[in-house]
Symmetry: D2
Subunit: 337 residues, 4 copies
Amino acid sequence: MKRIAVITSGGDAPGMNACIRAIVLTASQHDIEVIGFRHGFRGIVEDLNQPLHPNDMRLVSQRGGTILLSSRYPQFKEVDAARQAAAVLDQHDISALVVIGGDGSFRGAHHLDQYWDGQVLGLPGTIDNDLAGTDTTIGFTTAVDTAMEAIDRIRETAEAMARVFLIEVMGRHAGFIGLHSAIAGSAEAMLVPELEPQPKLADLADSIRRARQAFPDSSYLIVVSENLWPGGVEELARQLTQATGTTCHSAPLGHIQRGGRPNAADRILSMQLGQAAVHAVLDGISGHMIGVEQGHVVRVPLHLTFERDKQLDSRLVDLQLGLQQLNFASNVVKESA
Amino acid sequence: MKRIAVITSGGDAPGMNACIRAIVLTASQHDIEVIGFRHGFRGIVEDLNQPLHPNDMRLVSQRGGTILLSSRYPQFKEVDAARQAAAVLDQHDISALVVIGGDGSFRGAHHLDQYWDGQVLGLPGTIDNDLAGTDTTIGFTTAVDTAMEAIDRIRETAEAMARVFLIEVMGRHAGFIGLHSAIAGSAEAMLVPELEPQPKLADLADSIRRARQAFPDSSYLIVVSENLWPGGVEELARQLTQATGTTCHSAPLGHIQRGGRPNAADRILSMQLGQAAVHAVLDGISGHMIGVEQGHVVRVPLHLTFERDKQLDSRLVDLQLGLQQLNFASNVVKESA
Amino acid sequence: MKRIAVITSGGDAPGMNACIRAIVLTASQHDIEVIGFRHGFRGIVEDLNQPLHPNDMRLVSQRGGTILLSSRYPQFKEVDAARQAAAVLDQHDISALVVIGGDGSFRGAHHLDQYWDGQVLGLPGTIDNDLAGTDTTIGFTTAVDTAMEAIDRIRETAEAMARVFLIEVMGRHAGFIGLHSAIAGSAEAMLVPELEPQPKLADLADSIRRARQAFPDSSYLIVVSENLWPGGVEELARQLTQATGTTCHSAPLGHIQRGGRPNAADRILSMQLGQAAVHAVLDGISGHMIGVEQGHVVRVPLHLTFERDKQLDSRLVDLQLGLQQLNFASNVVKESA
Amino acid sequence: MKRIAVITSGGDAPGMNACIRAIVLTASQHDIEVIGFRHGFRGIVEDLNQPLHPNDMRLVSQRGGTILLSSRYPQFKEVDAARQAAAVLDQHDISALVVIGGDGSFRGAHHLDQYWDGQVLGLPGTIDNDLAGTDTTIGFTTAVDTAMEAIDRIRETAEAMARVFLIEVMGRHAGFIGLHSAIAGSAEAMLVPELEPQPKLADLADSIRRARQAFPDSSYLIVVSENLWPGGVEELARQLTQATGTTCHSAPLGHIQRGGRPNAADRILSMQLGQAAVHAVLDGISGHMIGVEQGHVVRVPLHLTFERDKQLDSRLVDLQLGLQQLNFASNVVKESA
């Protein structure tokens, strides 16, 4: 065994630093050096290397973001980029690369695997939780906590003023943050991409009108996934205001959902995955993601993490639809989830 | 002395509940009953009264929003509305009304004062801090803390991805939240309405370009007051992205700034003002706001709170301009503040 | 089906209110009334009943503590108390009782089951997570987050002053909070009851001495479960100070671990269990706890929840021992866990 | 002008890092280099120097603790130590030293001033707020927020279980944190050193007994300053439990009060003071503390900061005594404050 390299790639997620710490400390236990490259795949190609010593890891787990910095780097799809990365890794005597990132990063890792002899491993790091093969991803539960705290704040002012709010949460094309934060925030309704058919504007307007009649002094919060409604919640709020005659406010939560100290669950998950990644390296594994399913660490071929869609937990969908129906009639119908 | 009535009016602000508690407990100490009207001035006109007993006050100080609910009620400008309110107050044997709210609410209080015999007092309750005659207002420092925490979160992801963010904070037409959160968040630049002349797009684009050249791996955060740039930070981000060739992200913080538990400073201020309001009632004062200047409780004629503009603290403006110039050259020029 | 009664019993836990909400809303969906009794079993015996309507549930999920209040009530072991409770429940036409609580409460529920015809169900509500038959309990992950945040704060001052701290966390006689918060807080060492043999004072002193030599400018945090060291962390700190010549500070976290808003995971779990409890009532189940294992709702005979010991997750024990060994040699040897 | 040196000394306080940042950035604006010494005065004596560049300051304001580390160093009272420090400072071409710390640190600064030619300035950095000549100190309001949040958490569990708690807060020999957190936490009673005569055990027991009779289902929280009751709140709780027959719980908050991210007020104060310190250096000032009184930056001879006692704000004392009397009769009598 020579050395392990680590990168964080794509959107940063709270817990990435705790994961790096676990990799460095576990490797050190086996007398393996760890080297980081800054800014993800771009950092390998441009050789932005940075040694990672156990002593540097003392105070990083608590911090959001990533000490290795990250970037999106679509150029890595090119064969030349992969070959250049392979050359840099070889030059540094690297025998295994651990990529902490989401689905785009795993495509990159899979791509590199074809042009480099070393072992390539992926660790699921994305707040969106949209990777198949693992129950959860680094940063997801912290993002849900952050979204929930924002919803709690909006609830207070919405309740004081008896207002309707459309709260947009992240998730790219998946409804995990939407579903979990809607339950946790006791949202009166939710719009997530997995529910089919999506409710029509008239249905939403109708449910708001009925709620206002039944509870004129109460707040009404709808959690909406990003990329779902053309024009986002601002446009949806405009249309609903017109349709209902009630001012509907928009609240896109945006990038605050990426930042912040990781919660305990994300720190524990991150360290567990980091330790397991080093064990996988020692076991000679390559081309796999290390994930967690039902409490157990699992190893999943990289391509299976991004070629399949990950389903929402239908029991949690039922939970939210059940609870929100109790508040206000809803036309939302669940089909495929 | 008969009874005191209380309303919260206009936008809610963290600390209003602690203020209500102090009024109720202090009045009770002087054997005066307190009655609330829900939803502000509308609640008086529609007689939405609610008795307030000391025992109900046990657990309210900790909560954001307002247990009395609030509303905007432009109809109160009419003479008939004021007369109707006066009649309802008389009917309940009220001898003094305490209005917790912002400048619109104080205009309402001033208006009522002309059609009602009882004492009318205002307590400054608005996150915007845009009331002359008081150094600070209930909810302001909590809103600044909330904005700062959001900026801290954005800082982490912005730093990880070396991104430019335009962060929009509240303040209606005043830059208090903008200035204070820019300092607290170590923002690289700020745009607040009080600074004249406002920087042009070309200047902003230029400062971003120079910063990217000098520090290509760093974040660059600009705090922008709402209602300042036509189209908001989304439009400004679009224009700056085009002008600089660097993606500029927008992050409107929105209504999360209204909610949340009040911080200690706002609870203490709120209770101090609530207690002082009862003392002012006992002193026979009417038509005044109770505020705080340099640590002392002051009584200011209501009309002086909304007829004058409140200035930003020029020392804090200098502080931020000083510190941000040190990071990156800025074309922002301060004039009148 | 007549009516469902609910109590919260024993130590309160964040999430209990979200659980009550889910029970009330789900029951309402099936046209079943819910009635609460305040202060746990004592409240049944003394008939401290309180109707629970769906509309009262609007704003409770966000709050820590329990709106139904709780108490410890050892007298409920008596046959007379159980018979009196049965009589009160019958008098109110209750056909099922849901007890949200920990192991003592489940003993009470089991006891009542023998003297009452109705269905008795338990929901695991305790921050200690010491109930067999469920992977986690209502309040546990929030308590871990709270302990972790406290450890983070202590880390900052400990690092600034290069200090040794012994941080005592809750858990009664189980090490769940200790283990999880030690990992999440990157603790240099942990003392939890499940690790055998417990390290001796000399071993602890030795590890501190060696750490101080290797890293004289660094903090050293040991997480210690309550009820483990005679005299608590204050006494342990005294002994270690004497043995090492280095001042060892004690920091018993205490009851702050019980309070606070539930995190998203606890709210979701609580609502899931609350909904499942109503379903179990409809299915005619009695004498069972509703828990969660590997993501699935399970029904476990009540006596099996308190007659068996629940084991720590040995993979997490290995994780912490692995990571802490990397920092500083440890004599802690795991045996049975 | 040659160079400015900075140390943080004594107990760390949230905001010290923001202060260091402001010093470094402001000095840089005037082309002055800044050098830090780690671990306070000890670091000067042992020449543990560390250059401080503006670029290193990008992400420090948000963090608690102190990046320069701190220590208590009683040896600095010796003449030899001061002479050695003077020699080290001269060796590094330092013309001014800024000491961020509390009263012990200012005694050290005053001592050094007698043996060194350079300028010596103090900035008030202590959570205890026990320095005369400044209205507030770096870290104080953050510590109050932290104590208040802990009290809020304890309130929730205390209310759920109808319990009595004695909550010990920091403050060394001053009641600032006690007074402010008691108000903010709506404490039913407070014990702070400035109130004379201190209530006797019998009085406290009596007030608890009466409160339990009047409100048997409610919590009762007493905020107690450290170093006030022999044996601390644990002993007081033991005695009160015996005297009242009601279990009184103790909750010493301890060192969590030192850590945590500084709130906005502390960051703004810290930067204001840091900037003012550099201006004072440029003005040739020595032997002074830079503080803030009624919003204005002031310069106070160092010895006047520790030779005089700082009084509690009597209006806030009246506020708390007023509000707590309303809840429960109190025998606390204020005299000198």
